[in-house]
Amino acid sequence: MKKIFIILCFLFLSIELISAQGLKENSIGQNYYGEEGKIIAYISGPATMLNLLEEDFESDKGDVLDIVQLGCGPLRQRIWSEAESGSIRADVFWGSDPLLYEALSEKGLLEKYTPKGFDNLSNKFRLDKPYTLVNERYGVIIYNKEKVLSDITSYYDLLNPKYKNQIVHADPSQSSTALALIANLWNLEEESGAYYKKLVENGLFLSKKNSDVPSKIQEGEFILGIAPHDAVWRLKKIAKKKKYETPLEICWPKEGAIAIQRPIAISKNTARFEKNEELARAFVDYLISEKAQKITTSFGFISVLENEKLLKRISADIRVIDINWDDLAKKQVEINEEFEKLF
Amino acid sequence: MSELIIKNLCKHYNENCVICDFSLKVEEKKFLTILGPSGSGKSTLLSIIAGIELPSKGIIKLNNREIYNSLEKINIPPEKRNIGFVFQNYALWPHLNVENHLLFPLKIKKIGKKKMKEKCDLILNLLNLEDKIKSYPYQLSGGEMQRVSLGRALIMEPDLLLLDEPLSNLDALLREKMQNEIKTIQRDLGITTILVTHDQEEARKMSDEVVLLNNGKIEQEGLFDDFISIPKTDFVKKFIKR
């Protein structure tokens, strides 16, 4: 009996010891509990791409990066929960759209850092914000080329009754990127939400994630959908490598493809070690360097750099709709509710 | 002197008294039977004496030691009362064989291995269980289980032996045999014993004295024959059959 008691005490003490490691507290009561010389990054994206970036960055700096790979949704939830609980544990985090960053910026939780190489960015990516845009991708129409009845050129092609119940789109209540897509097509017609109303009437199906859209089209469950283009790019590459045919195709709609950027930010923490602060900044610098940009574009993302020579771009005559993220951040709940009402 | 003295014992459930102002004296080496209909409180009484149930008030003294006294706030736990108990359902442990059942009460006493074996062999012999020594409860017949249960209680050399309707699950022939066996063992070992039963024949055959219990109260106590010849209450008259 006494043995059990002693064991329990021992456990309790060891818990205290383990958790009390490396705590540095600053004047406003913020904690920093990272190791000196190592930064923590929460990143979403294809695992292979992240591994390549990590290897490349560390080949220069050494083992300084701890990447926690997350999906877009979990990354949002986790960062936000950490923010609400008092301190964001990640030093840097690279997500799938600016909405989260707008919300955090409003709370003053992001550090304003202008990266080296800021001037190399295309004009439209040079923002006066406490986050840096790393890549862009576009919401486009994805379709099964073997099953469509005619050429697809416009969002209105999805309203063709011949495609009833064959259209898929991610659920905005489950994915913030999907919400961005919807918000931008919301005012396609004069009457707000009219386009989506018609789409719903044509049997729009909502999937849990954006990545489900090309998957489900490829698997034959649906014929058309709206989702970011980069996944299709990667799926085609895999099909080629594994030697099977894929019927996926992208259509750049004449009304415009919807531009969604992937930002990175440094969490504000004055208790951070000097060395770590340097590393965090170095990582942001790295991501908009040519080397890193080359890696990301090979995965289907579009570069933010103003350098035509080395990097692939989409054809200049494709129309792009840019999102006003500030605006969207304010209206997101409203749009979500309106959208729900359509069902 | 393993004499049992009970004074003014009471046990209440909600508003009702299950044992009402019960007093009794059992002299050492005597075999007492507590007889009564179901619900009369017999088993409860036994549990209280053993210490596995708590009374509301009263005094219990065994071997000149107070094992329960509500006024003085004395309550000796069951493991320290040195009372042997044979349960109605035998309460054998499925994961122990016969030998381990008998050794169980000895192991806590920390006597030498040799001595344990001696005592064990004695009891096995006494109860004719030698060839069942390695058997498990599920391999035993009703009578054998009953004997193991008895052996487990006896090996402790208890001051008091309590038997809670131990024979009610056995068939008539076996019951009679066991009645004789128990009586013989009790006489030979000289252990103060209390048997609880609703079987009048059993009471008459085995005990030195009988207590008739009804609704927690003593209707009559003394020799069984007196119950027949000199019934003290109407209940006694009705309950006891010639």
Binding site: F5, Y33, G73, S215, K242, K243 | L54, F104
Partner: protein, 546 residues
């Protein structure tokens, strides 16, 4: 209160009780209170949004409860009460059924029933109905899938309970002239009701808290349930709303739990006679029905375990799900990728086992302590049991969010360390193990405990020598279930892990980031199920070997 002194006559016991209280407060109450503070503080939420999803959740939970009771009960009855010939096989199939992760069952269901799925193709080829489309998304689909996943729990619970019934109780009824069905209805059913209720409440709560299956099978049909609503609130970065809705769920589930305790408490006096000495349980001879029963049981398991396993297996060899089954389209690459995948697969399995194992160990100690207090002491001590079961109704994601809230700041900074994962798992596992322990405790006759005491052993020693061995099988199966869960759990892992703390759940989720489809998830799931089966096989070998 006078009696307290008798119970805690050593300082060690008092200290242990204090420590237990501290642990319960720290890990079970503190995070929930923190979370709910968040929910209540901004109270301006109309409950009206919550009502329809909540009713849907209730429908699912009730459906699962009834179906699992019927299926589990029927199977248990066949195995225990008749001369059905393949009893061991039924046990094994049930383990397989539980080992398959619920979202795999959901995915199998989808693979079969979705548009262009196997079923549709089958119908088109065999019945030549060209324009047939099947749709797999409905409330019933969720009920069905969750039932398939959870019925083994009910099966094992009722089976143990049936085994412990004193056959004399039923024989008495039979001798009085009752036929089998009457005996079952009037006697057997009431005797096994406590098990059905306690396992049932557990199944009900877990169905209420389930997210992955509902999201996969209901949401696409625009059927919202409480958990999808909670999840979407989190996506909208509205943690307060998510916390508030979770609070409502927990209050509801806790009320049910208390009701159930109260109802069962009343019938405490019925003894199930766990001290069965012989195995003479009355067996019903199936005779002419034997072949029919065997056929039906095997048909059931074919549908439930074998078909999903096969679809999973086949899909794991496809280059890409959706491709037709030609040789050209088959490959071993998926399996190769798993073990090449960041070379983290092995680390992931190791972590899952380690964290799961440690968490299960702690959970067992807590569950055992709370069960003992609840069973042997006065009613007031049931509060310990209630607190330890609290987390049953909380969705995994919310548990993780609560963990972040409570353990990201002074003085308890477990978040970010492996302990954060371990403690959250511990909280998740405790009700599972406690459920097993309590039903076993209740079914053992108290006379066995008393006999040990009267043989000279104090309460603690008596418990250890005579009751604990009886509890071991339940503890083992509880731990096994917990380990199975740690091998496939996703939300908690994702929300709480850091570098080098990846678990299999993280791996599973990461598969999808690679634009891999169902074929990769299938391959990984096949590996997981094989590991579980291996572990189970080893476990039974060890038992026999000893």
């Amino acid at each position: 209160m006078k009696n307290l002194k008798n119970y805690f006559d050593t300082y060690a016991l008092r200290g242990a009780l204090l420590l237990l209280s501290f642990i319960l407060i720290l890990f079970y109450i503190y995070p929930t209170v923190f979370l709910f503070y968040k929910g209540i503080v901004n109270f301006d939420y109309t409950i009206s949004n919550f009502i329809v999803p909540f009713i849907n959740s209730l429908k699912i939970s009730l459906g699962v409860f009834f179906l699992t009771s019927i299926i589990g009960g029927l199977l248990a009855w066949i195995v225990v009460k008749t001369d059905f010939p393949f009893k061991k096989l039924v046990d094994n199939f049930c383990i397989i059924a539980f080992a398959i992760p619920p979202y795999i069952i959901a995915l199998s269901w989808l693979q079969i029933f979705k548009r262009n799925g196997y079923f549709e193709r089958f119908v088109k080829i065999v019945f030549h109905i060209d324009d047939y489309t099947s749709t797999p998304y409905s409330l019933f689909a969720a009920i069905f899938v969750l039932t398939l996943h959870l019925f083994p729990l009910m099966y094992f619970s009722i089976k143990n309970s049936l085994r412990n019934i004193d056959p004399k109780l039923e024989q008495a009824a039979q001798l009085a002239g009752a036929d089998n069905i009457y005996v079952f209805r009037k006697i057997t059913l009431s005797l096994i009701k406590p098990s059905i209720m306690s396992t049932g409440i557990f199944i009900f709560s877990r169905s209420l808290a389930n997210f992955s299956v509902a999201a996969l099978l209901c949401l696409p049909a625009r059927i919202e349930v409480s958990t999808t609503l909670i999840y979407s609130s989190l996506t909208m970065l509205d943690t307060s709303k998510a916390a508030f809705y979770s609070l409502l769920l927990v209050i509801f589930s806790s009320s049910l739990y208390f009701m159930q305790i109260y109802l069962i408490n009343k019938k405490k006096k019925i003894s199930l006679k766990g001290s069965i000495q012989n195995r003479d349980i009355s067996i019903l001879n199936l005779n002419k029905y034997k072949i029919l029963v065997v056929f039906l049981v095997f048909l059931f398991f074919t549908l439930v375990s074998i078909i999903p396993s096969i679809t999973m297996l086949i899909s794991s060899f496809l280059k890409r799900w959706g491709l037709s089954l030609l040789i050209d389209h088959l490959t071993l690459d998926n399996y190769k990728e798993i073990f090449h995948y960041n070379s983290k697969a092995i680390l992931a399995f190791k972590n899952s086992f380690l964290y799961g194992g440690v968490a299960a160990f702690f959970a067992t100690i807590i569950a055992l302590s709370c069960s003992i207090l609840s069973h042997y002491l006065s009613k007031g001590y049931r509060i310990f049991e209630a607190i330890a079961s609290w987390p049953m109704a909380i969705a995994n994601t919310i548990l993780a969010v609560a963990a972040i809230f409570s353990f990201n700041t002074y003085p308890f900074k477990f978040y970010g360390t492996a302990w954060g994962l371990i403690f959250t798992y511990m909280v998740l596992f405790t009700p599972i193990i406690m459920n097993q322990i309590i039903s076993l405790l209740k079914s053992q006759d108290i006379s066995l405990f008393n006999a040990a005491r009267l043989s000279g052993y104090n309460k603690i020693k008596s418990f250890y020598k005579v009751v604990f061995p009886f509890l071991l099988p339940g503890i083992k199966s509880g731990i096994l279930v917990s380990l199975m869960i740690s091998l496939r759990e996703i939300p908690i892992s994702l929300m709480l892990y850091s570098t080098n703390q990846e678990t299999v759940g993280v791996l599973l989720f990461g598969m999808q980031s690679q634009s891999y489809g169902l074929e990769m998830t299938s391959a990984l799931s096949v590996v997981i199920v094989l590991i579980i089966l291996l572990a189970n096989y080893l476990n039974s070998k060890i038992k026999r070997g000893l």
